[in-house]
Symmetry: C2
Subunit: 331 residues, 2 copies
């Protein structure tokens, strides 16, 4: 195979330049003991002067580890993921690691291919937003000493960095009810994807139901709700919103739409603005700036990204971060 003369200066070159052995160079470079301070200085100076940069590939092959953190996410279409990713990259970089990013595109098989690929690159650890229902591969990685952390969806037996989705949606829904809305439309088409890991969506839905339930036991308990749990129903709902009054969903002044992800908020907002209530989820920077009046649960994405890296590198346990309910004129 043709070698490209890309090769920068190596330890061997440094050894030749300084008239010492590569072992000595190594001791200087890595600050190991047992070396004459003068020799050390001479070598380090030469390294500096020649712009020596350790070849990470060789280091990785030799040590069996790398300074690479793998990140598998579904895509970047959602600000939720980009902010987490930003935090991950910042934290990883601050700790001397680089981030290798791949996208599963919501395809469980593709996700596992990504994981295998990353593993073949000796990644130091993996952060994954899982869509696969089978965490077996990840458990195997953990067993072999490669830490794995999940974000977004949980997976049994694997550390998780995130929020308590159940509690967040329960509180959020409670807030909507407390503002007098009595007809709730819960727009969660993703619930249709039963062959994927949608644990976060399930927990949020359960939180929603629990809020409605517990409210139902009160005095003014005539709450009516509707769970939009398929893309078909969701499309129909949007069409009804657009065309004016909806039948299936019984829109009226006391109606509020609850979106368990701002991916849906983006669809719904232009249609309900000023007509019905709307509560989002995530509450991310861009949406917050564009639509300051939007109410919703605030997802602490930056903290989560940082926490995920922390769990990975310090081998600590799962962590649940606090969320907030952001009030707004849309509720």
């Amino acid at each position: 195979m043709k070698k490209l003369s890309n090769s920068r200066i190596t330890v061997k070159d440094l050894a030749r330049i300084c008239g010492v052995s590569i072992g000595t160079v190594d001791r200087a470079i890595n600050g190991r003991g047992g070396i004459n301070p003068d020799t050390k200085k001479r070598i380090l100076d030469a390294a500096e002067a020649n712009g020596f940069v350790k070849n990470q590939t060789a280091l990785s092959l030799s040590s069996g580890r790398s300074a690479l953190i793998g990140v598998i996410i579904t895509d970047l279409s959602n600000e939720f993921l980009t902010t987490i990713l930003t935090a991950i990259e910042s934290e990883a970089s601050a700790r001397g690691f680089s981030t290798l990013i791949m996208m599963s595109k919501y395809d469980p098989e593709r996700e596992l291919e990504c994981a295998a690929r990353m593993r073949s690159m000796n990644i130091a650890g993996l952060i994954v937003f899982p869509v696969t229902l089978d965490p077996g591969y990840y458990l195997d990685m953990i067993r072999r000493g490669i830490p794995v952390v999940t974000i977004g969806n949980r997976a049994d037996g694997i550390p998780f960095a995130g929020i308590d989705d159940f509690a967040a949606m329960k509180e959020g829904t409670g807030y909507v009810l407390s503002r007098g809305y009595r007809r709730l439309i819960y727009a969660a088409p993703l619930l249709q994807k039963t062959s994927q890991n949608i644990r976060a969506q399930l927990l949020r839905r359960d939180g929603f139901l629990a809020a409605v339930e517990s409210f139902g036991s009160g005095a003014e308990a005539d709450v009516e709700y509707h769970v939009v749990d398929s893309y078909d129903k969701y499309r129909r709902m949007l069409a009804e919103l657009e065309s004016g009054a909806g039948r299936d969903c019984s829109f009226d002044a006391g109606t509020a739409l609850i979106c368990p992800s701002d991916a849906y908020t983006a669809d719904c907002l232009p249609l309900v603005r000023g007509r019905y209530g709307l509560m989002g989820f995530d509450r991310l920077p861009l949406i917050g700036r564009l639509i300051p009046e939007l109410a919703g649960v605030a997802y602490p994405t930056a903290e989560i990204g940082k926490a995920a890296v922390g769990i990975l590198l310090d081998r600590t346990d799962s962590i649940l971060l606090p969320f907030k309910i952001v009030p707004g004129e849309t509720i």
Copy 2:
């Protein structure tokens, strides 16, 4: 150094299992000729059965190349960058490459550190959104056989994938003028950063000026314009918009705000909605869904990401992609 038993099955293992030599395994795996079809099948079956995955690190060290494409961007706060990144990852992945992403955070020094780091990982090529004014390091990489492509801002002597920023803003401004607006506020605070590469912003500003200029030669040539070219002025402008009438900027019904990046659109839109005209730039998915009525130049980000990877891997030349003016009620 402690070796972790992460190691999956290797060519050596395969050789032992099949009772052949490493060389033979290699011939089978890589489909090179000069091997008995039966032996080959036996080896491939064993590889399949044992879930053999080539160790990319070793491959990279041995060949001096890797299947890694480096991407250095400023950050992910902008949908502009996330959509390009998505396209890059898709295309790279489809062509068998992985993406290593780092963020310069608009810091030229940090950008160069990222580049050096990536180089030490034997990246096959680099896509960079440059903020540094000195492309020397990149030229050196190219000289040594590592292709580099710029996006966003151009850099002399380095291939570029993008649009004609000058023409885009000239046309966009022409559109605003054609709709009757005669007072234009051009909000481009980034112009202040003269110690960074802001070529795209400069080109857009020049396009804006050219449009105003060429229009001025006509009959109804009383166009008044104002370039907000610092963060100070920008903040003042936003404050004036918020507080009602502005003095510096002379807002009135015939006023239109032109934002050469939707990063600014996001700030301005809530303040001018229904009062003054507003033209954005980029016209990205989320903003498009949230604010369907926004007028602006549509930046073909997906195509650009794909093109950048193409230039990198096929060693082709710069490419300028077509843009579009999207009309909308905000103008």
